[in-house]
Every structure is written in C-alpha cells, then in structure tokens.
Symmetry: C2
Subunit: 553 residues, 2 copies
C-alpha cells in the first residue's frame, strides 16, 4: 500500500464528526473518560471503505462544483450513452456527491479555474463492456482511478469495475473548511481480494418490505458487496409468489397479499441489484425448513406419526414419493427462469430426523434401500435427486456444509457454504481438500448481537486462516455476512446490519494485510456518517456525531 | 385480577400477526422448528399493555366508526373544552384508533345501531382537574373505564388519569375479521403500582434530534411511562444552550448550531411531555462527567498535574474555588427556571480522583480540611455545597447512589437512584433503611444488548425484592430504564428501546402478581405491532409479522 497523507486529514477531522471530545489532544494523558475506548485520529486514507488495493493520495487538491462537474463516457469507451447501467450510476454518484449541497445558480458563467476538477471520464476498455449482462462470480470488478488535471479518469475492463470505481471516487470527495467539495490528486488501482462478497437477508422469519431490501442493496453497493443471498422462504413463511404453484404463498405467506413478493417485485430486486453489480442468489432450502411449503402443497411434507397413527403434524419434505420430485422439477424449472444468476442456493441444513423416524412408510423405504437406521443416508438420497434435477436446469448450486459432510456427490462447480461455528477452519480445510469452492459465514452471523464494538471481531477474521495448500486457499471464493430474521424486521434491520457488515465488506475486498484496527475505526466512522447522509440509518461505532444526523426516528 | 376472555381472542389471532407459523395447532407435538421458542396463544387480556389493575372484559362487542365516534367531555366534568391538554389527547387517540382506516363517507346519514359505540365521555371528578399544571410524582393517575351502551365513560380524578385511560381505551379497540373497529363491553379500574416510571435518554454521547426525543415521548405515553430523565450533558458534549452561559454549548456541543437544544427546543420537549403526563427531569451531572463543560467555562475544572506542572488536561469540577460555587449558583438558578419539574437530577456518580490527587492546590486544601487522603470526603464537600445551592432554588433533587454511599447529608425528600449492578438489592435496603425514597435502574440498563428475548429478563425483575420493612418498601417510588448513548443515536435508538422498555413499563405499572411470561409475550407482541402502526419502529420479539409493517427503513 502506498499513500501520501496530507492536509486533507485536518479537514476531515474538522468536517466529519470527531473534532470534539474524542480527538487527540491535551487530555490524552488523563483518563477522565474511562469509557473512551479509543482516541480518534484521522486515517491517511481518509474515509475510503473498503480500502482499495493500491492508493496514492497527494496533497494537491481540486474543487468540484455541482454546476460544472460532470461524469462522462470517455472517448473510445466501449460503453456509451446507450448503457443505462452506467448512466444511472453517473446520476446516482453525482447526487451522492452534490446532494447535500445546493447547486449555486449564477455560477454557470464562471470558467473553471486551474484548481477545479470538472470531469470524471469513464473508460471501459474491454470490447464487451457487459453493460447488458448480469454480474457473475467471474465478473471483472477491477478498475484504475486517476484524479488529476485536467480531468479524472476511471478506467475499467467492464462496467462492474466502473461501478466500484465510481463508489471509490465519491468516497474521495470531502468538504473543506468552507463547505466546498474538494478532492485530492489521487491514483488508485483496485480489485477485490475475493470474488464472492455477500449479505444474507431472511424474508421468512419476518417479511421485509421491498423498500427495505432495496435500501440494503444500496448500502451493499456503498460497501462493494456483490451478492445478495436471498433466504426468501423458510418454516415460518413463504412470501415467494410462484407462478407455477401460487397456492403455496397463498397459504404459506404471513398474508397472501401484503406479505408476498410478486414476480414484478422479484424482477425489480434483480434489476436494482444488477445496476449495482450485485448478484441475487435465491435460497430455497429443503428438505428441512419447509413447514410453510406444506400448507399449500399437499403431500409435499412427511406426515409424522404418534404411535401407529398420523399425529397431524408434518416433518421435512417427503423423500420417498415420486410426486415430491415431480414437484421439485417444476418448481426449480420456474426458479431457474425467474432468477438469472448462474447459481441457486439449495440449503440442505439442519434436517430433523424425528418425523422421518416416526413414519412407517419411511421406515419401510429405509429398509428397502438398505439405509439401516442412518437417516443421513435418506437425507443424502433426497439431496442427490434434487441436485440432479437442478443440474438439468443449467444452474450451478450452493449448499450448506451438511450436504458436503454427508458425502453427497456434488458437481465440481458446487459452492459449499460453511456456517457452523467451532470447527469452521477445519471444515474449510476439508471442503477445499475435496476440491470444492467454498464461502465462509460461520464467524459472520450478524444476528448475534452483543454490547459495544463487535464489528472489530468480524473485522479480525481471516478467511484463509486454515491449514491447506495454496491451491486449497484459491478455492475460497469469499464469504457472506448473515442477518437471520428471527429478531429483525423493517424496524431494526438496517441499523443492525450497517456498519457491522461493513467490517466483513473490507475483509473480503481489501488486501490481506489491511488489519490496522485503529485505521479501520477512523475510516469506518466517517464512512458510516456518509451512509447516514445517503439515507442509510447505519448505527454509530461509539460516542461521536455526524455533521448531518439521520433524519428519521 | 378479574377477566372474562372471549370471542375477541380468535379475532386478535386472525388480525394481529400470529395466525400463521406460530399458532397453537396440530404441529405443537412436533418440534420441526427448533427455533420456535414459544407457541403463541392470545391473552385473555387482548393487547392491553401495561395490564391494568382490574380488568373485566365481556364477550358483548360493539362497533366503532370514524364517522360517528366521538370523545367528549362528560357533563359535570371539571375540565372541558378549554382544557387543551384533554382536547389534544382526544384528537391523538381518535387518530390512533381510526388513523389506519379511511373514514367512510356516505355513512354520515346512518343512525348508529344498538351495537355501535358512538361516544367515550371523559369525566374529571376532582374540582381541580390540574389541566394547566405540570405532572408531579404526587400526581393522581388513577381512572375508571366502563365500555358499555349507550356510551363508554372514562372517569378520573385528574387529567393525568384521563390520559392513561384514553391509552387503555385505545388498546381495547381491535379489528374484527372484516376490518371493522370493534370493542368489547369492559370494566377497568386502574392506577399505577409505582409513581415514578422513567426512561433515561442520553443526549451527550450522541446528539438526539428533537424529532427523536418527541417520538420517544409518544412511545412512553403508549407504555404509561411518566418521567423523561434527560441526561442532557456529559463528558462528550454539552448540547444544552444556557442563556446565562451560552459559551458552554458554543464550545462544548458537538456543533454550536446543529447539535444544541435551544431554549425553545427545551420548552417544546417539556410541553410535549406535559401533554402526555410526562415529567421532564434534567440531569446536570457533576463533579465528574463534566469534560464538555470545561471547554467554554474557564477555571471550572481541576487542572491535572504531571509531576510539578500542569499537564494541560483537566479533571472533575474544581471543588476548592469560590468561583465554582458562584457558577453553580447562577447555573442552577437558570435550570430551576427552565425546567418546571420539582426535581433536578444532580448526578454525582463515578468521580475519578486521579486528577485531584495530582494537583498540589487540592492536596493543600485536603490538608487544611483534615480530609487526609480520603478524596471521597472532598467529593462530599463539593456535593454538600452543591445540594445546599440547589435547595435554595426550591427544587428537590435526585442523585446517583454514590452520593448517599459517601454519607452526604441529604434533604429528606431526596431521591436516591440505584444503578450499580450486583448488590442493588442490598443498596435498596440501605437507602430505604436510612429513610430516603429511591428508584431502581440497576437491572434495567438497556444499552447492554444481547441476543434473543432479553425483555424477559427486564420483565422478571421485582423492585421490592430486598430485605426490609413494609415502611421501607413504600419508599421505593419506582424505577427507570436507562438507554445510555455510547452506541445509540437517531439511527438505532427507537427500535433498541422499544419494546424492551415496555417490559419495564409493565413491571412499574401493573400489580405485583402480573408475572405470567407467556401472557406477557402474547400481549406485548400485539402491543409492539400497535406501536409500529402508530409510527414507532419498535422491534419484533420473535419471528412473526404485523398486519401493517413499518413503513421506514
């Protein structure tokens, strides 16, 4: 990492929230405030988050004004005015940069002086900009950014890198002591350390209004996340409105009209994500976690028995009926059409065997198949058939680690999702030793909350900290922060997720040696105020203030 | 407690969020959802929160419509149309009851049928309704509510009881299966178990915009809290704009314009609270927790020494200068005028002696006074003088427990605030044995968060669970839930406070034997959805849904 910290630091201190109470100063040696855990010092990297791979900031600064500044397609760019993904992004970042301040009318006639930056030119260099495509795990998100006179240049092979670079550019802009937008001469070369950087949201334990999902996709883009893992259904409710099986959400959603995602809603989420370089990977978890499926879909779930008669309650998906697999074929055919991503998450976690054990037909089937009393074999039997079905839809699949642990035969491109805390490192070793790609979530279950700065715990995780060869490490394609929904809904989700998930965002994007917790605290404090300014109610790290506090309640 | 639960229960289930997934039913005997901690069953008390002292609900139900229903002053009431406190409350509760549904035009001509409730008559029986007064710890909040034909009657000695009864009335209204507003024939006789039921908010660690404070006063009224303990200043910032010493907030606030409470702001908060029967008790904590005071007020704080010269940093208020007491006299004279409540909280907690120890002038003073090396004597010296100053302003005072522990001589009407966890019961015993009134906060520090349903922990606290005589128990006048501000600001305060503080609200209002946690879960679940409908982003207790989810993000 290269950097030249400069006069901008004092300005950051002045303008971004820590000029009082926590600044280094005459009181450092006296511990009156026992609660003050950490003295605030501005980072030489300003408020960049996540930190780019290579950063060089000089102390030459330029002004930007809303009247003269433009983001434009560079001459020779393979993506121009017809690429609405880019045009939308230009507007979005223009508004982020100048939204807080009034455009000064009357300044139109003024010529830009030598110290004014008037243009950011965006140059897509690859012949195929991928403007019309969907992002993928293989997407190139790299970019190079030069802020200098006469104009700044953002160069990227694909539109995905341009999106990341625009976010970075916007993070370089700060207000000087007179409130004028300023940016320093800067050179950045950047790319993600991991290709898969995800957030899991759970819309089954609590329904999340579309507005909440979109706001969090916005926040994800601000933190360079690129996968929305949509844990869309589970035991508690089935808000996904299926075209093929509409009765499932009619019976299994919390409410058939107000608590469902229509096909139009799903389409909007996917396009909103695409415009921000975010993949939408839906999870339809089976054979467990399916109570809500059974309300509308007869005979899908296993009838549990109490003694020698059905108890009236139901267990996991019934793995011994042909109708089950007919259903799954049709269902996942629909899913493969609705969700454009190359992957679908098939779950496979936490299957409870008690109901299967109670059912005499299941017992008979076990005997016929020679499974003995090993119900994990029955689970694998089901999963194997499901995976084969999904494979015919031309989708890749992600699965929770149990499926791998049970020895199910997986396609080579399967992504194994490690979630069980305690032993996660060993599991990463095993999965990669078997040649599968993997993502890590075990240390990043953000639904578990605790007092004080737990973001630091998430930040200190090193995903490659397991025993394995270089080849094995390469199979770790990233991770996901999971915010399970038992205790969150629209009222508290967003401040609970941000900026705690931002810690995971930097861990997955930035270089392996970006581990200075004080520097991170400094950058993240300002980054969180920036999210607040952009309308995201990201909670504070510690006692402090934002120049513009959140406007909601 | 008397009650007759009825047909309304099934309707509550149907209309208020738990009809799916968590309802008692055929699946009870099968544990597919290991995460489902508790099966939801409607309470026979519907969604009343906190539970009134005596409740009798019959199964005779009436309809209410926004067109015909009115809240009116009863004939013979001592408080009529000229009492804007009541008129404001009528409007507020009318809107709470009918706000969610459109007024059906065209229904104006219809006569109310026999099963329609058209009026709630409010009768203030005491000659002095106290409409123009401020609420006090001695205020009578009792009321009696009869919902029956031809009209409902709310009878209360004072306006304060009427406010509580209006909230209760609004909680009795539910929607039937066709969405029609309904209420059952009901008789309620109610009064608070404890007179002091407070919420502490901290506007120093983070500034809270006025909008946030007012929203939380609204939520307090919904939970029958009656004291806003405003921990307005502390080390980190001094947002209180003093008329007498304006330079303190100019220097000590996070920002002198955007992060201060002007006299007009303070007045608005006080009146907003008064209209809801909520006292505003400000805390100006000294001699510790005063770093922010020292920025604008020269010589107020003790200069710390490093060896034999001043280090440049400062400690607690300097207790050995006459100027200190001159300042405090003027300052608390202002405070006594600005805040009408009979009490002011003087803090007195967590005084760090290191700086005093380092200062040679302080050492000399200690010697002169014969304090030896016992700096708690110096602390008491200061506090004693401060209390005497405040006593001349005709105010009573509240203080944190250390002041009592240090043996300071207190006025008989002093309220000792017990906050130190571990030994709180013993402390309650000691304080009351010495004859002082006390309030409890130690088990209710809501800034300490943890995973899952910690409201149950707060709910299970019994404030009188200490060894002492009946006379001692009578000295416990209540308690406060404290939400210290290190980790909360406008982005996350409201959902973090509600409904966790609601648990404390019921403990302090309802009868001692109201301890059924399942019944509480049921009522609180619906109560929290009601708060959400009223615009308060109260977080969920567990997997569930509200018919109308929060509209923000």
């Amino acid at each position: 990492l290269h950097c030249c910290p400069l006069g901008l630091l004092a300005l950051l201190l002045l303008t971004l929230g820590f000029s009082r109470g926590l600044q280094p100063g005459p009181r450092d040696d006296y511990e009156e405030s026992a609660e003050t855990e950490r003295v605030f010092a501005a980072s030489k990297y300003g408020s960049l988050w996540p930190l780019p791979q290579k950063v060089k900031i000089s102390d030459v600064s330029f002004k930007l004004t809303g009247v003269t500044f433009r983001i434009t397609d560079a001459k020779g760019s393979s993506s121009g005015a017809s690429c609405s993904l880019l045009q939308n992004a230009y507007r979005r970042y223009y508004e982020y940069i100048f939204g807080g301040s009034r455009v000064q009318h009357g300044a139109e006639g003024r010529r830009a002086g030598p110290s004014v930056l008037t243009e950011l030119q965006v140059l897509i260099v690859s012949a195929d900009s991928e403007c019309e495509r969907f992002p993928a795990v293989t997407s190139d998100e790299s970019y190079e950014l030069t802020v200098d006179q006469p104009y700044a240049v953002l160069k990227a092979p694909k539109v995905w890198g341009a999106l990341r670079g625009l976010e970075t550019f916007s993070q370089l802009v700060y207000e000087d002591e007179y409130g004028a937008k300023s940016i320093n001469s800067t050179t950045i070369s950047d790319f993600p350390r991991f290709a898969h950087r995800g957030i899991l949201l759970d819309t089954s334990r609590h329904f999340l209004p579309i507005k909440v999902i979109l706001a969090n996709l916005e926040a994800m883009a601000m933190n360079k996340f690129n996968v929305f893992h949509w844990h869309i259904v589970d035991d508690q409710s089935f808000p996904y409105m299926s075209r093929t099986f509409p009765h499932i959400s009619q019976q299994g959603a919390y409410h058939p009209y107000t608590h469902v995602y229509t096909p139009a809603d799903v389409k909007m989420v996917i396009e909103f994500g695409r415009l921000r370089g975010i993949r939408v990977v839906p999870e339809f978890d089976t054979p467990g976690h399916t109570q809500s499926w059974g309300k509308g879909q007869k005979d899908l779930l296993t009838p549990c028995y109490s003694g020698d008669k059905p108890s009236g309650s139901f267990g996991p998906v019934n793995p011994i009926l042909n109708t089950t697999y007919d259903f799954m074929s049709k269902f996942f055919k629909e899913i493969s059409g609705v969700f454009p991503d190359a992957y679908v998450h098939l779950g496979g976690d936490e299957v409870d065997f008690n109901c299967w054990k109670s059912n005499p037909d299941i017992q008979k089937f076990m005997e016929q198949q020679g499974f003995g009393q090993d119900f994990s074999k029955l689970e694998s039997f089901y999963i194997q058939k499901l995976l084969d079905i999904v494979a015919t839809t031309q989708k890749g699949y992600m699965i929770w680690q149990e499926v791998f642990d049970n020895g199910v035969k997986l396609k080579p491109d399967t992504v194994v999702h490690v979630w069980i805390g305690g032993g996660a490192n060993e599991e990463m070793g095993k999965v990669t030793a078997a040649g599968y790609t993997t993502i890590l979530s075990a240390p990043w279950y953000l639904d578990y909350i605790s007092y004080a700065q737990d973001w630091q715990k998430y930040y200190k995780v090193e995903p490659l900290n397991f025993k394995g060869t270089e080849a094995q490490k390469k199979l770790v394609i990233g991770g996901e922060a999971c915010l399970w929904g038992e205790y969150v809904d629209a009222t508290n989700l967003t401040p609970r997720l941000w900026p705690r998930a931002s810690a995971v965002g930097e861990r997955l994007w930035s270089a392996v040696d970006v581990t200075d917790i004080n520097d991170a605290f400094s950058r993240l404090s300002v980054h969180r105020c920036r999210m607040v300014e952009r309308g995201i109610p990201a909670e504070p790290l510690f006692s402090s203030y934002c120049p513009r506090e959140y406007k909601g309640i």
